[in-house]
């Protein structure tokens, strides 16, 4: 799709920017990455009234062009990189009418880059309610650009905005805001000459940000650095002077265009809600009640769709076996690819529900209050109030949660959050836990109300939280801070969630999960299938021959022979050799070679465990798989001791291993993507595996 005009949306967080983006583009949008960095890039297309097509780019919300976090650093680099395919022809700056003063700071910075600008004035209704009157025409005249009042929430004024976009001139019409050259007179001229730029603010921004701008060559960057030294440029002082000058300009601007009814300080709705939701006692009670409800919902609401997805794949598997001629390729497709795919897709309901909740909590403004309430505790253990969001998300899946740490400005806080998030009990551990708990923990009630199995599961969830907190606390003392930690955050007014946004987030996140985790899980399923289906030398043929002898046919039923063949084949397959090879190392944990195979394959993804157990204990038919696996595992004997393979000690030890070990290739990959340094995923992998081994060892040795 080719677009005739490229439009970037710029604005503060919580101004309704993404709602406007969704309105302009509809479902016609896609999410990718900005080149070189992993910040979500949302682009879409919009048909203009004059039948032209506009490409709309939604840039991350920011309070200023001077970035505080990785997300925010994208904004200036997209606006500044004139060779980039995303460099806009027109910028739509979206302003919150009820909070114009602070919002206009970003506008004045953007306007000074002298790219054509239109202002979309959102939330006029809120402003009116608060007694604020805005002279839109007067403001437009003073700024020199069109100012369009809209209500993104109520879908008002969008057509006029589109019309205005289609009228857009290729020349910037905005008035100058402040005297930029006065901020660093000689430096701006020298950089202008050196870099061939005629816009003084662009030159000044290069001086401030050259170290982090990807489109500058190292040579260009060092020349700018030299010029800064030559003119003794002090970045922070210049920024402070600039910000004060801009607010002076804004005060002049608003002096005769905005009037606010002088009312006595009256309690607004948000304040009243806050009194309850951030209350000393009720605040925490409500927060934990919401969490409890969320987890209940994640598990109970997803039960039916998950069963449906599983059933669908069982049909597909059976269908492939029936329709295609028997042979290794059919087996690979049915038992490798389709089984692997089902392992991924079955998590979609849980992920979608979790992200629906998270986006509702964020949309309403409640998440900011959670951050506000939790900051002090989180800081004690080396985290940040903002770490709460990824940690809660970790209960579903570490992959998107680690991506959501980008909003944490402080490097050290962000790293620690990334390092401990995979310890949180994610949904992939759930099938492992439920299987093992059902196997060894009796299904009865204690104190009438508490189910023992449920308590065991709750204990595993609590353990994960405690371990994350302890590890974070340890890392706080190991990692050196790169910059001072701080916490300056807007508490947005409470709003009703926008259901369109919630649905879109659900859809986006589920898609990301399927694409990111799906690739790995399918690859692993295929590899596992190959390793378990083939073995070195001629052993497989010999096993077949052995069981073809008549004495077996008399003693055993055909189905029993099939099982015997399958399990002997497994033992002499590559996977079997692998299991035997690591057996000495895992024997102190109570595991035999069969569990060893499951451990190794689970390093790709934890949920592979159940499938591997199913393969290893040769279950025929897939219907009600977990039940059957459970029975088989209950009957299984340890080859070394002759005892039942899954005693309480073994099962608990195994659960400990799954609680701590970094058994998720997707997480390793996403940690690398987010940190751009292989040492982080490496350290994480090592510390988690060591913890897993120790926890398992202690559990088994104490209980055996």
């Amino acid at each position: 799709m080719k677009a005739e005009i490229r439009v970037a949306l710029v604005g503060n967080p919580n101004t309704g920017k993404s709602t406007l983006f969704n309105l302009l583009t509809g479902l016609n949008q896609k999410i990718g990455n900005f080149p070189g960095v992993t910040v979500d890039k949302k682009t879409g297309y919009c048909n203009l009234p004059d039948n032209r097509r506009a490409q709309i780019i939604d840039l991350p919300g920011t309070y200023s062009l001077y970035p505080k976090s990785r997300d925010e650093s994208i904004v200036f680099s997209v606006l500044a990189d004139r060779d980039s395919e995303l460099n806009p022809d027109l910028i739509v700056v979206i302003l919150d009418a009820s909070n114009l003063k602070r919002n206009l700071l970003l506008y004045t910075q953007v306007a000074d880059l002298k790219i054509p600008v239109i202002v979309a004035l959102n939330m006029m209704d809120v402003a009116n309610k608060e007694g604020i009157t805005i002279d839109v025409n007067g403001l437009s005249k003073k700024l020199g650009v069109p100012v369009m009042p809209i209500s993104a929430r109520r879908n008002e004024g969008i057509d006029e905005l589109k019309k205005q976009i289609s009228y857009a001139n290729q020349f910037a019409l905005q008035q100058d805001t402040i005297d930029i050259k006065a901020l660093a007179p000689q430096l701006i001229d020298s950089i202008g000459e050196e870099m061939q730029v005629d816009n003084p603010y662009y030159a000044l921004q290069l001086a401030h940000q050259h170290e982090t701008l990807k489109f500058l060559s190292p040579d260009e960057s060092s020349r700018i650095e030299e010029l800064e030294l030559q003119h003794s440029f002090h970045s922070q002082k210049a920024q402070a002077t600039e910000t004060i000058a801009r607010y002076n300009y804004i005060n002049d601007l608003l002096y005769d265009t905005v009037t606010k009814k002088a009312t006595a300080h009256e309690e607004n709705t948000s304040n009243r809600i806050d009194k309850v939701l951030t209350h000393r006692v009720f605040g925490f009670v409500i927060f934990f009640a919401i969490l409890l409800f969320m987890f209940q919902a994640i598990f109970s609401w997803s039960e039916y769709p998950m069963a449906l997805i599983e059933q669908l794949f069982i049909w597909a598997q059976e269908g492939v076996h029936k329709l295609l001629p028997a042979g290794p390729l059919t087996d690979l497709l049915a038992d490798g690819v389709i089984a692997g795919l089902s392992g991924v897709l079955v998590f979609i309901p849980q992920i979608a529900i979790l992200f629906a909740f998270i986006s509702i909590l964020e949309d309403t403004g409640y998440m900011a209050r959670v951050t506000f309430m939790m900051d002090k505790i989180m800081r004690k253990v080396g985290l940040n109030g903002k770490s709460v969001v990824p940690l809660i998300g970790g209960f579903a899946c570490a992959v998107p949660s680690i991506m959501s740490t980008r909003t944490i400005e402080n490097w050290k806080d962000r790293m620690i959050t990334i390092m401990v998030t995979p310890l949180i009990t994610c949904s992939a551990r759930l099938p492992v836990y439920t299987l093992l708990i059902a196997l060894v923990v009796p299904n009865r009630n204690v104190w009438w109300v508490f189910n023992l199995q449920g308590l065991a599961l709750t204990a595993m969830y609590l353990l994960s939280l405690v371990s994350a907190i302890v590890v974070a606390w340890v890392m706080k003392h190991i990692l050196k801070a790169r910059e001072r930690g701080y916490f300056i955050m807007e508490l947005p007014v409470y709003r009703m969630p926008r259901w369109n946004n919630v649905l879109l987030t659900m859809f986006d996140r589920a898609k990301t999960f399927v694409l990111e985790a799906g690739k790995v899980i399918i690859a692993v399923s295929v590899i596992l299938w190959v390793l378990a289906s083939y073995g070195p030398g001629d052993r497989f043929n010999q096993i077949e021959k052995k069981y073809n002898q008549p004495q077996y046919g008399q003693k055993m039923k055909p189905s029993e022979i099939e099982h015997a063949i399958a399990s002997e084949k497994l033992e002499s397959s590559y996977a079997g050799y692998l299991g035997h090879a690591i057996e000495p190392a895992i024997r102190p944990l109570g595991f035999d070679w069969k569990i060893g195979i499951a451990l190794v394959t689970s390093f790709a993804a934890r949920e592979v465990f159940v499938g591997t157990m199913a393969t290893i204990y040769s279950v025929d038919g897939n219907a009600d798989e977990i039940q059957t696996v459970k029975e088989k595992m209950g009957n299984a004997r340890n080859a070394n001791t002759g005892q039942p393979a899954f005693t309480l000690a073994v099962a608990l030890s195994l659960m400990m291993f799954y609680a701590f070990a970094m058994q998720c290739a997707s997480t390793v990959a996403v940690v690398y993507r987010e940190t751009k340094d292989w040492r982080w995923p490496f350290v994480q992998f090592v510390y988690m595996t060591v913890l897993a081994y120790l926890a398992s060892f202690i559990t088994y040795q104490l209980l055996k």
Binding site: K101, Q236, K237, T243, T278, M373, K376, F487, I488
Partner: protein, 72 residues
């Protein structure tokens, strides 16, 4: 010399200056400017951070950051 971190809940004051350049840049971008009226709305349940009303909206910041803001 009164700091924002010493201001009681519900009280308002005018910002005079900052003691820390690095923090002042961040705070001023968020609307905490010399001459601006600031009002402490509430304190988090555990005593830190605090929430203030400034430039027409609600901002939360830690007491440590608040202690770099000097009031008139």
């Amino acid at each position: 010399m009164k700091k924002l971190s010493q201001l009681e809940i519900g009280k308002k004051a005018i910002i005079k200056e900052f003691t820390d350049l690095e923090m002042s840049v961040k705070l001023m971008e968020m609307g905490c400017l010399p001459g601006e009226e600031i009002r402490v709305e509430r304190v988090a349940p555990l005593g830190d951070p605090i929430a203030v009303n400034v430039s027409g909206y609600m901002l939360s910041l830690r007491k440590q950051e608040a202690s770099t803001i000097i009031l008139q």
